[in-house]
């Protein structure tokens, strides 16, 4: 690959000198991979760049600082906590956000797309937002007030949710220390930066799983999603309002048509099933005999049971 060896110093065969930092190497690599036409390959390259750059780079850097030195589990964990603190909360949240992909229709992607409109509405209505609604435009004012209040609610819920995600990443450092301590015995020591990275991933997953399975997460996640749905409904209502002004069909109208078709098809299927001549069925006795015979040929069977309602 022309140029790659120059960038990477000793990375390419025959080259000399120290390798460049991983993040720089990934950035260079991703730039070079831009020319790949295949959409699937391009997506993978993007995800790799987004997910394999920052944290692996940081882990390599920390490993380099610890090389040839005696450091105990607590010291390593402490140093890693400093790295994470140095990256800031946004880097952790960006990691989670990065799961959603660039062309995503996910929760955050929707909000990113909708936020400029919401902010514009907020600016336009700033003067009368907190005022009691009255006069000719009172219903319009009430709708906008509700919409913008929904945005505030969503931001609050999102913030609470993000706080929990950050807590998981903070808790991971404690788990990291515990897992590292298991490698202190000779023969179990970690001999590569990659192995150290893998231990941190294990720790991060353990800490995250504990929170993601908690009642608190269930509540906070549910509230965050529900709040965005309320906000979306308000936005959709405004868009439908605009559509109706210009005589355009709305999603509600299209949905109503789709519902009618689905119900008609269901009704027809039920009627056809009720009137269709049934082929000769296997007699219940023959079926029972066949199944009894099959049951005796199996190694592991359950105890006999009867249906709840039979």
């Amino acid at each position: 690959m022309p140029g790659m060896g120059g960038m990477m110093g000793g990375a390419m065969p025959g080259m000399t000198g120290a390798p460049a930092g991983w993040r720089e190497a990934m950035a260079f690599w991703n730039n070079a991979a831009m020319g790949i036409q295949d959409h699937g390959v391009r997506n993978v390259a993007d995800r790799m760049n987004a997910q394999a750059s920052t944290w692996w780079s940081e882990m390599q850097r920390m490993a380099a600082q610890l090389a040839s030195r005696n450091a105990d589990a607590a010291g390593i964990a402490k140093q890693w906590r400093q790295v994470m603190d140095g990256q800031g909360n946004q880097a952790v949240l960006d990691m989670f956000k990065g799961l959603q992909g660039a062309e995503s229709h996910s929760l955050e992607a929707w909000y990113d797309a909708a936020r400029p409109w919401l902010d514009a509405w907020r600016r336009e209505t700033h003067g009368w937002l907190g005022m009691p609604a009255f006069g000719l435009a009172r219903e319009h004012q009430e709708r906008i007030q509700t919409l913008l209040q929904s945005q505030v609610d969503y931001q609050d819920r999102l913030s609470t949710y993000n706080t929990l995600l950050l807590k998981a990443s903070q808790d991971a450092v404690g788990v990291f220390e515990t897992l590292l301590a298991k490698h202190e015995e000779p023969g179990k020591q970690l001999t590569t930066a990659r192995a150290l990275f893998d231990v941190w991933v294990d720790a991060a997953e353990q800490a995250y799983a504990k929170i993601a399975l908690s009642d608190e997460f269930r509540h906070v996640y549910g509230e965050m999603v529900n709040a965005q749905m309320r906000l979306r409904q308000q936005v959709q209502r405004e868009i439908e309002q605009m559509c109706s002004v210009f005589g355009l069909p709305t999603r509600t109208e299209l949905d109503a048509a789709h519902r009618k078709i689905a119900e008609l098809e269901r009704m027809l299927r039920r009627q056809a099933a009720a009137t269709k001549p049934k082929p000769a069925a296997e007699s219940p006795v023959a079926r029972k005999q066949a199944r009894k015979k099959a049951a005796t040929s199996t190694a592991r069977t359950t105890d006999g049971k009867r249906p709840r309602s039979r």
Binding site: G10, P19, A67, G304
Partner: protein, 368 residues
């Protein structure tokens, strides 16, 4: 301090780490070399499309298509197998590539294999219900096969959510299912280790569907990635560097990535019912699952049942599947506990022999 060995290890080192700066440079150079090679390999990758086995469309209703896989040899089995896959991913996982194909393994053993492809739901499908999926599409395919093959009942193989659909169908129409196989199928939806279930409990699913209509595939994918966010993202893509200089391994990786992100949107009403009745209501265990106007009681499943689950399944924990044993009416129940994960059960090299062989042997014993 004593000198390091050839791998950069030092016998005098105290603590969990034992590497030298030189060893780290070596490691970094190795990875950066792979990156460099990867640019060439990525440009050269060949076909990473899916589907190893030729197939033909034999029946269709709306977007749902029933395919028959062309047998490599004369099918020995008179009773066909119908694979009912989940709505949430594409069914080609069972026939991903030539050396990773459950379909191929079954065909080679003389089974006659069909699969339902639900297609990609769009806004016009928003009001499809579980009744539509189970009675109309799955039921339609079953009736087609019974007639085509001249049999009273077929062998039904349900996968994941498709397994839950198959359980419903088998309970409602036991006379049409000769043998039932469930793979990585959730039955008890509220085991303590079920992360997805935990997240759905606080969801106002009526508000969710009334707002979204259909559930976007991206949202589903995001939920799955959030089950193990560090392993399924960061670690996976750091690990990808290892195979960047291996064309075949890279093609396999790309094929799997394609499958992971090739997800259909979910029809809104069916999703609403599934979350409410299965996840929030845990209806197989507690009762309360209604398909159309009929309540599902797994006690009516009286045909032989083979329940295959994966020991390291992060989507459908083993206990969620194993609950089936205590709920069905059948006296002929067999379990296969597979050492692997939710996806490994189809694509791992051990699965290629173990899973189709178990299914085939189990079916043959019940066809005599």
């Amino acid at each position: 301090m004593a000198a390091a060995d050839a791998k950069g290890r030092n016998q005098d080192r105290i603590g969990p780490l034992n590497f030298t700066a030189e060893a780290l440079v070596e490691e970094t150079i190795g990875m950066q070399s792979k990156l460099g090679a990867g640019l060439e390999t990525l440009r050269d990758v060949g076909d990473y499309g899916y589907g190893a086995t030729e197939r033909e469309e034999v029946w269709r209703d709306g977007k749902t298509v029933l395919y028959r896989f062309h047998p490599k040899k004369q099918a020995l089995a008179r009773t066909p197998i119908l694979v009912c896959y989940a709505l949430v991913n594409r069914p080609y996982m069972i026939d991903l590539q030539d050396d990773r194909s459950l379909v191929k393994g079954l065909l080679e053993r003389g089974q006659d294999v069909y699969v339902i492809d639900w297609g990609y739901a769009d806004r016009s499908d928003r009001y499809l219900t579980l009744e539509d999926y189970i009675e109309r599409f799955l039921g339609g395919a079953v009736d087609f096969l019974r007639e085509k093959h001249g049999v009273h009942g077929i062998n039904l193989l349900g996968v994941c959510q498709g397994g839950a659909f198959s359980l419903c169908y088998a309970a409602l129409h036991p006379e049409k299912v000769r043998n039932l196989i469930t793979m990585v199928t959730p039955v008890d939806f509220q085991t303590p280790d079920n992360m997805l279930s935990n997240w759905t409990q606080g969801l106002d699913v009526d508000l969710f569907i009334d707002t979204l209509g259909n559930v976007p595939a991206d949202l589903m994918n995001y939920s799955y990635l959030m089950l193990k966010p560090f392993r399924l993202n960061m670690q996976k893509y750091v690990g990808l560097v290892d195979i960047l200089d291996n064309k075949k391994a890279l093609e396999d990786f790309l094929r799997m990535e394609k499958w992971i992100f090739d997800s259909p949107d979910q029809a809104g009403e069916a999703f609403r019912q599934f979350i409410k009745q299965f996840y929030q209501g845990n209806g197989f265990v507690n009762g309360g699952i209604t398909i159309g106007d009929r309540e599902v009681d797994l006690g009516f499943i009286d045909m032989p049942v083979l329940n295959i689950f994966a020991e390291q399944d992060h989507l459908v924990p083993p206990d969620a599947s194993k609950a089936l044993k205590g709920l069905i009416g059948s006296e002929d129940y067999t379990e296969l506990s597979f050492r692997g994960g939710h996806i490994g059960i189809y694509v791992s090299s051990r699965a290629q022999h173990e899973v189709p062989e178990t299914i085939h042997t189990w079916l043959v014993r019940r066809s005599r």
